[in-house]
Amino acid sequence: MNNLVARAKELLNSNSVQVVIGYETGPTGVARPAFITNSEKADRLIYDERCVQNLAVYLTKHEVRKLGKAAIVATLPVMRSIMMLISEQQIIGENLVVLGISSEGNLLDIADIRVMQGIIEKSDLSNPPEYRELLAALNKMSPEEKFAYWQKELSKCIKCYACRQACPMCYCTRCTVEVNQPQWIPVQANTHGNMEWHILRAMHLAGRCISCGECGRSCPVGIPCHLLTMHLTDKVFNYFKVYAGTSDKMSSVMSTYEPNDKESFII
């Protein structure tokens, strides 16, 4: 990805940005996030099919922010996360350079948020094809089967909160599970406590999840927790005809009311 390296060098040399957030190869061959602050180190940047982590999670991280203005390597899920973060007033779009990557893996020229919005609008925003089969299989299950499936999966949870920490939309400085006076969600990682956590997490992401799948990918014990939020993405689209991360002025589906909202789900 020579274009990407050249662009990163240019941005750093001209001091247009102070850090480029991208990917590099780790010692065991996996792609991982890289924070390039010096153009001499920009050659480490890579982009290939291994680069799947949603880097937008770092845009709200205190120590990354402290580095200064950032450029970020952004595939579609990252671009959508950026839109969400702007619309939820967590970041300022003008303070960010987006090094967009097309679905074919080419560097896109993104001058501003409007250009990025155009690219997002032209893209397929539904849940990625690789997850659709599993989602459809889950939808076919009876409520009892679904409950048994999730009980089995969630019993593995160790409450490491990697799902939360990996998610760009889980940026709260104090999560509900950390509110301990009183303790709302049981701390112990038993099936009951795990279920409460994962349901809470999914509900907080309803209408906000941009279907990157990072929560499931980051889970060290392999719980497909991304299927919970992706299922809600489908639900939200069915009811409200919107996908998250399509505009910098989106209002949250679950916290706004429109007189013509469907209410068929209220019994």
Partner: protein, 336 residues
Amino acid sequence: METTRKLIRKQSLEKLYKLLSETRKIYAPVIAADKQVEYKYNPAFSDITFDHIRSTLSAKNVVFPKVENLFTFTNSKTESTINDIDLNKIPEVILWGAHPCDNAAFDILRSIFCWDITDEFFSKRLEKLVVIGLSCHQSDDYCFCTSVGLAPESSKGSDILLSRLQNGDYHAQILTEKGNSILNMAGELFEPVSAEKELITEVKGKFSHEQVTEKLKTAFENPFWVENSLRCIGCGACAYVCPTCACFDIQDETKGKNGKRYRSWDSCGFGLFTLHTSGHNPREVQSQRWRQRIMHKFSYMPERNESLGCVGCGRCSSGCPVDMNIAEQLEALQKI
């Protein structure tokens, strides 16, 4: 105790397993449906894996469960009645087929849990534990036991250590009285050692832990910590998969008049971990928490517990969602 060396044939292992499972619980690694290797109580012998490099979670759950009830209580208008947990009900368990890194971790955990006051729960579980270890005949890039004073065939922490032979049989080193009691119980299954070669993997050294410990004495304020932890997202995966991480949280949960106090795994990677009631947090940002993790294992523990807090299993690195590779970082740290 002097080590006894024996041979146990592949087909005799199953007989040994069956014999032991008649009287005790067995905790052994199996390959789950999603291909992850996990420890289970009393799995079918045919499900046990003898070829895994590392299980996702370590075996520490057997002595330090992810949730341990400490006592139960009943409240009335005037008083609370506390009911202790009957520690004698903690069962005898055989840890079967755990690798030397996991087994060496028990002594490290003991140095924490029994440092000044003996933790009754932990020490009872350890007392009731017999470890039948399995030397490693395979390893990968995440393994670094040889950099922390261990080896793929270390016997530390095992009561019996099995090593695979080229023909599929196993050599068994009987290392402790606990191991000897198994030998006495199933003597007919053990034969004299053979001349067959033991299959032991090679794990390359990556750093010198002595040098790392030395370097850490003056590295507290080094920019290394910020630079190398930018990608850390602050989850607790590394601590929870670690065989030696021992931090726990204590909580009361009540339902009506009844309740219980339990402890559950905690992690120094979490922001809440050191948050004071005043609102002040001495480890406010992730780099400080990452530094704490390394300092604790490679500086504070050697100083206070006279042992490293790491066995080189590589789980924290292989399980990390953002590739915070500890061996790579210690190698780099050695050079600063």
